[in-house]
Symmetry: C2
């Protein structure tokens, strides 16, 4: 076979522009202030608010912050930034967890929180169009009278624009999908100020490249999302939740695999390990067994939920699961899931006063038990305090690792641990991040995960953002 | 607002290379023949087999055809074609319906049908890895003992590589999704011969740009798919099918909308109009009412299927649906769905000896009834014979329009009709193609559908295929 040629046309390489000069920033502001008025600012307090997200990554403030109200305003801001070679960092509500909104290279933070209108809700089509600053709880509050809901639920009350940009998911992904499955169409401003509407409201299409999915998960490095059309789901007639404890993580995961193979359409399948259960008990004054535990939720008709629950109880029993602790009334269910949602905060209380890193890997479910067990052994050996929480129906789990960011030794231990964790995920055919994204924290793993694919991503970045102004330094 | 600047760096534009000279083809063959041997040919018969698909588009033969056996062989072929500036046209089993495999610009047809190994089936993870030449029925035959199935079912027994490249779907998309939702990961050879593996076997990932979805639906214009990992689904415990007739298309669609809002997880919801039912009756010697009719299928547990079916029967009754004609035994069900699958051939018998064009639009379901009604009126006014078939759960429908390709007047009538149909779909917030793709047939509608998005697609094409050798003239 000939190994001949090809790279006569060398692939494009992305640019990272130099940090903007004070003059460039002044010129940009002079251009934008006449029409943005107080909606562009260099005030220290506002810049500091936009310097960090919810991660442990070191903050870095942008040179200025602006608050556009329309897609056209975003487009004008992008054009002005392009002219002055000033980086743009899209900002929703700042709940990212890998440093996606940190202005490492300076520039203008584009805060989209004021673009928070629910533009349209269409019950017959079960979709809604929203501006990017709408948060998931606000959308669901808006939907209350329709019998519909928006399903994607990361821990934080994130904005939908941010959730799309980081390809977010949450506890009920196993049934309803991630942002990848729940966004029908986007409006985005590209790096040259062009306004693009990707996709349509049709449920499927075979017309051209899938720009919607290219922008979902791009972390603002290709364009700024200014409108989204998302799928809605019908509120189930009946909902029931249960908690069931196992002797080992392996048993719990075996029950999950069996339920998926059986085709049980569980809405939520969450795993907490023994340490996480201890933290939850202490934080929420509860009395759960401090063993590996599944939190389950069933959605369907009354008869369907009953049937699912009975089948799941049988499957769990086969693997040594305890009797189910049921929560059927809404108040009980809310309490149960609040305990689950508070688990990260509960974990933090195990070692107050420290930062915490939430790791995030995802593997094929057949490899999940061994991956978790190897990780728990690693935690022990490393001397870390690290309760484990998992969206196990997806093969995705997190460890909440406490760390004193000023203790270099501890930071190094954590970094080495995280590196081994990622290596373990990749070796198992998985990914370095299931739902937190790349941002600043996972850039070093992209090449190991994607190989030549990373070069293709870089070519796309270079072609669509030749000046390199869109959230530089993130992702690629 | 400043309208200032931006396009200082003009976006890249795709190239279409000149038709390769006889010398270029001879040089290419001289380079490839020593190691491909009889697996590269210029024989007239083979070239003619690769000149057409199942569409009415005029055939155009490639200059040569090759039959690689491995990803590495495909990569070497691509590198050689790049060196000699010879276009490549990936070819699976030739069942595309918009001319995707027609060699309009000459070049080398890369026939992947010999790459037909099922590489791995992993029941615990409910996924399978296959080479691109594996057809959907062959994969399902292979899976028979596992209790799992691959869900995507376009009419033809297409290859999975082709199905991914055209973003195919089929009758059970409403429950199980299209190729977009069912491909986890791809191996592809890019235009410069690089081998890229996109995605992982993890069920979700937030790691980098979504190259998997960029290649799905790209119709071979960005790369050649040489391996796919696809999701599998558990065979349901119980399956039941039914046929129900309505007085009007509007009533049938209203029943469908009600079922979706109710959250009924129907596996199949197919609509045939009165003319299509007449064709089916005649073709398959059946006695169905010749009225707008839904073909339904329910998957689940025995109790679940019973509950779904009862609810659906009630909903249909509300909209004047007839009593359900049931098919519960496998043989009856096979007969019922065979009639549905044969509908396109049945339609053709309405006017034997002509070609037929299967149109393909998809709209938000709330607009489906009006869109179908306006289209039926247009059919009547245009004097066309055009039974209608729809995957109505997705808002997707086809008309099978008979046409004498040698009658210029008739071709013009059909072209004008198709144009109005697409305009109607776009005006309703839909797409010019739900599942057939762009190929040669729908290129003219891409700009109307995507606006500036088409320019973004062209930039991506130009960046990833700077020589323009990957299936030139298709899609962008």
């Amino acid at each position: 076979m000939p190994a001949s040629v090809a790279a006569e046309v060398p692939p494009l390489q992305p640019t990272v522009p130099p940090r903007p000069s004070a003059d460039a920033i002044a010129a940009l502001i002079a251009e934008l202030e006449p029409w943005l008025g107080e909606r562009i600012t260099t005030a220290r307090g506002i810049r500091d608010q936009h310097a960090h997200d919810e991660s442990w990554h070191r903050p870095a403030a942008p040179d200025a912050v602006c608050f556009p109200h329309t897609t056209e305003e975003v487009a004008a801001v992008v054009r002005a930034c392009a002219a002055h070679r000033v980086p743009l960092i899209p900002y929703g509500v700042g709940t990212s967890v890998e440093g996606q909104v940190i202005a490492e290279h300076g520039g203008l933070s584009v805060d989209l929180s004021a673009m928070d209108a629910v533009v349209a809700v269409r019950p017959d089509d079960m979709d809604a169009t929203v501006q990017p600053g709408v948060t998931r709880t606000r959308l669901n509050a808006h939907l209350r009278a329709t019998g519909l809901f928006f399903s994607v639920d990361p821990g934080a009350d994130a904005s939908l624009g941010g959730m799309a940009s980081t390809r977010a998911s949450g506890t009920n992904t196993v049934r309803y999908g991630t942002m990848r499955e729940n966004v029908l169409s986007l409006t985005a401003v590209m790096a040259d100020g062009r306004i693009v509407r990707t996709g349509t409201r049709a449920r499927k299409s075979a017309a051209g490249y899938d720009l919607t999915h290219l922008l979902i998960g791009a972390e603002g490095t290709l364009g700024i999302i200014t409108e989204l059309t998302v799928k809605l789901h019908g509120l189930p007639e009946a909902v029931s939740s249960a908690v069931v404890a196992f002797d080992t993580v392996g048993d719990a995961v075996a029950a999950v695999i069996a339920s998926i193979q059986y085709g049980l359409p569980l809405a939520r399948i969450e795993l907490l390990d023994a340490l996480a259960m201890a933290a939850v008990n202490r934080f929420s004054q509860l009395g759960y067994a401090e063993k590996p535990t599944l939190f389950l939720e069933f959605h369907g008709t009354h008869a369907g939920v009953k049937e699912q629950a009975e089948t799941m109880a049988e499957l769990c029993q086969e693997f040594g699961g305890s009797d189910f602790a049921w929560a059927t009334r809404e108040e009980e269910r809310r309490k149960l899931w609040q305990a689950r949602h508070d688990a990260a905060y509960a974990a933090k209380q195990l070692r107050p006063g420290t930062e915490f890193l939430a790791t995030d890997i995802c593997v094929p479910i057949s490899r999940l038990a061994e991956c978790i067990e190897a990780t728990q052994a690693d935690v022990k050996e490393s001397g870390l305090v690290a309760p484990l929480l998992g969206h196990v129906g997806d093969g995705n789990f997190h460890l909440v690792v406490m760390v004193d960011r000023d203790d270099a030794q501890e930071v190094a231990t954590l970094a080495a641990f995280n590196e081994r964790l990622v290596e373990r995920a990749l070796a198992a055919g998985g990914t370095c991040t299931g739902e937190h994204g790349i941002g600043l924290g996972k850039r070093r793993y992209l090449e190991a995960e994607h190989g030549e694919g990373l070069a293709v991503m870089r070519t796309i970045k270079a072609a669509l953002d030749p000046l390199g102004i869109m959230n530089p330094g993130k992702l690629v």
